[in-house]
Symmetry: C2
Subunit: 364 residues, 2 copies
């Protein structure tokens, strides 16, 4: 049974199962797809999985074309979107045609934006191939690209018609990408799903895909996608509860900014951000020391960083936090855990508490 993202007439299923890549054709038929399909991917991913998806569609009578974009976050911009539009135009995609994103969050965000805006919206299907895309980017309808001035400044809310997850594709994912995705998985455990947290804790090793039993990995994906689906179903456009997903991201973003998105991956920064947020929660008396050290243990087990590199400028991080603050014209907002499986928002964290959490993040 697929997980359902419930959004009235925009509801859609998330299929999680090994070999689902081979069933792309059936699944597309199930959701009413027909005619033309444009697969958007990058050279690495397409080399691994392109043929499987292509064949699965062709054999069921779809008219399949491909659009292979250069790999990398630095190509996530409007110029690359124009390349997708060129393909849409050339193959004369129609309202009822489908764009399939076969790739990580970068491909998914771009293909989704193109699907949202070609003919004011055509069918869109996500086949996420990174752990992060599976549990996060592919679910919830945020699409878009970067602008010279900042990340994801241009975009649209546009829900896919389906998300197709084949856990097997993770076997070729670079280990650092896998670990980054695990940061978001841990996040779901802390803010929402204690069963997921327990499942993660019960694993002897978490730091590589191959250490996980197939069934456990599927359960982890299931809990994670279910959590994101539930939250998005309750708050499609980020007016309320969806803010919980920013757990670990306040300080995480500041770290990414200060290190210019170069030193840490997103997941690594989020891991550090979660440790800092946990520390703040402990200082404020929201959270127990014990649960904070369980969180830290889990992060360490994944081999995600638990300390900031020592040469980092704490003042720069605080400045970056305040820049964010200026943008929302208010105080810095944090999502803080109360117990495993529950978190809440506050903008009442005293500066010295933030300072202390940052100090601990370096020193200890």
């Amino acid at each position: 049974m697929p997980i359902i993202v419930s959004l009235d007439e925009r509801s859609y299923p998330i299929y999680i199962s090994p070999q689902s890549l081979h069933r792309t054709g059936e699944l597309l038929i199930d959701i009413g797809g027909k005619g033309k399909v444009l697969i958007v991917s990058n050279p690495v991913i397409f080399r691994h999985y392109g043929e499987i998806v292509f064949t699965a569609l062709i054999t069921l009578g779809f008219e399949v074309q491909t659009c292979i974009l250069p790999a990398g976050e630095r190509y996530k911009n409007l110029k690359t979107i124009e390349r997708i539009y060129q393909h849409c135009a050339q193959y004369r995609l129609e309202r009822r045609s489908t764009i399939i994103a076969l790739g990580g969050g970068v491909i998914g965000d771009m293909a989704g934006f193109a699907a949202a805006t070609w003919l004011r919206g055509i069918n869109f299907v996500q086949i996420p191939t990174t752990l992060l895309a599976m549990v996060d980017a592919a679910i919830g309808g945020k699409t878009g690209v970067n602008h010279a001035q900042g990340k994801n400044l241009i975009g649209a809310f546009y829900q896919p018609k389906a998300v197709v997850i084949d856990p097997n594709v993770l076997q070729t994912l670079p280990v650092r990408e896998y670990r980054s995705g695990m940061a978001e998985v841990i996040k779901y455990g802390v803010i929402w799903e204690p069963e997921l947290f327990n499942l993660l804790e019960s694993q002897p090793q978490l730091s590589q895909y191959r250490y996980l039993a197939t069934q456990d990995l599927e359960k982890i994906l299931y809990f994670s996608c279910q959590t994101k689906a539930t939250i998005v179903s309750q708050d499609e456009r980020e007016g309320g509860i969806r803010a919980l997903l920013n757990y670990g991201h306040t300080i995480g973003h500041a770290i990414e900014t200060v290190t210019q998105y170069r030193y840490y991956t997103h997941g690594e920064a989020v891991a550090l951000g979660m440790i800092a947020a946990g520390d703040i929660a402990v200082q404020l008396g929201w959270w127990s020391k014990d649960e904070q050290s369980r969180q830290k243990q889990l992060i360490a087990n994944v081999k995600l960083p638990i300390q900031l590199k020592p040469d980092i400028d704490l003042e720069a991080i605080k400045l970056a936090l305040n820049w964010d603050k200026k943008v929302v014209q208010g105080a810095v907002r944090f999502i803080l855990p109360k117990k495993i499986g529950q978190a809440a928002m506050t903008d009442q964290v005293p500066p010295d508490v933030i300072h202390q959490a940052l100090i601990c993040l370096i020193a200890q």
Copy 2:
């Protein structure tokens, strides 16, 4: 009392009143606007009305910036959208900031698309300055730009927060633009609103703005906007009844295509398309000859064309119709009148009936 476009939480008012331009500030406050405002316009329109709007906003405490784009349909493309994004970035527009479109359909479609996609959607207000934009383009949430391959291929559905119509601005509108807008007004009379049709018929002269009494013009705007609002409220994304708005547009588009959007304005082509559609309806026994000639009389009164220029290639028009048909993979679709104030869709028009209608459009 404003007209309301009813779309649940996306509902919005259409204000029609002389001098409403001067009240832009109050109206923006009414709909919860605050902080930064970016006015998007073109040099001609901004010269006439920019200062009024600018001052109205500044005096009420808004932080106002402007983005003046080159005039003309040929600039309605992604490159120009990037210019708007540059302004959004430079002035650091926030989620709750507002983009105001001050202009005709070209400005409205572009500013709307930028508002739809900057930060995945910020506030948007339409101040239409052409008759066409007032009664059509500014209402209903279609935004977008052209692509080398075709018109309006890139876009989004994105509703404004308000539409502010000041009939006085029409006094500077070139007469040909005014008449083009009147084609859509007549369309509403034929497909939906008999009172509008009667009101138009009761005017001794229709061919210039200055012939209309202020009150009659306001009523004409009111009926027209009300019609579009009602239809859009029932069918936001063009799955059903909104197709009625294509009355006159099937053959109208074919005429525009064949004459490469150069010889006729959109409204002129639609006027010819309505006459042809009316003729088809008469041939099929859907409509009375008498009402068809009343429609033709009205079109003539506006000084819109009632015959095709003689050197046009009928076969090319039929080809253009069939290209459209290939795109929707079916027969050519027509909206045909049944009586004044009522129309319906059909894809059952025999080719010879179309042929006959086109012959009549040239010869008569």
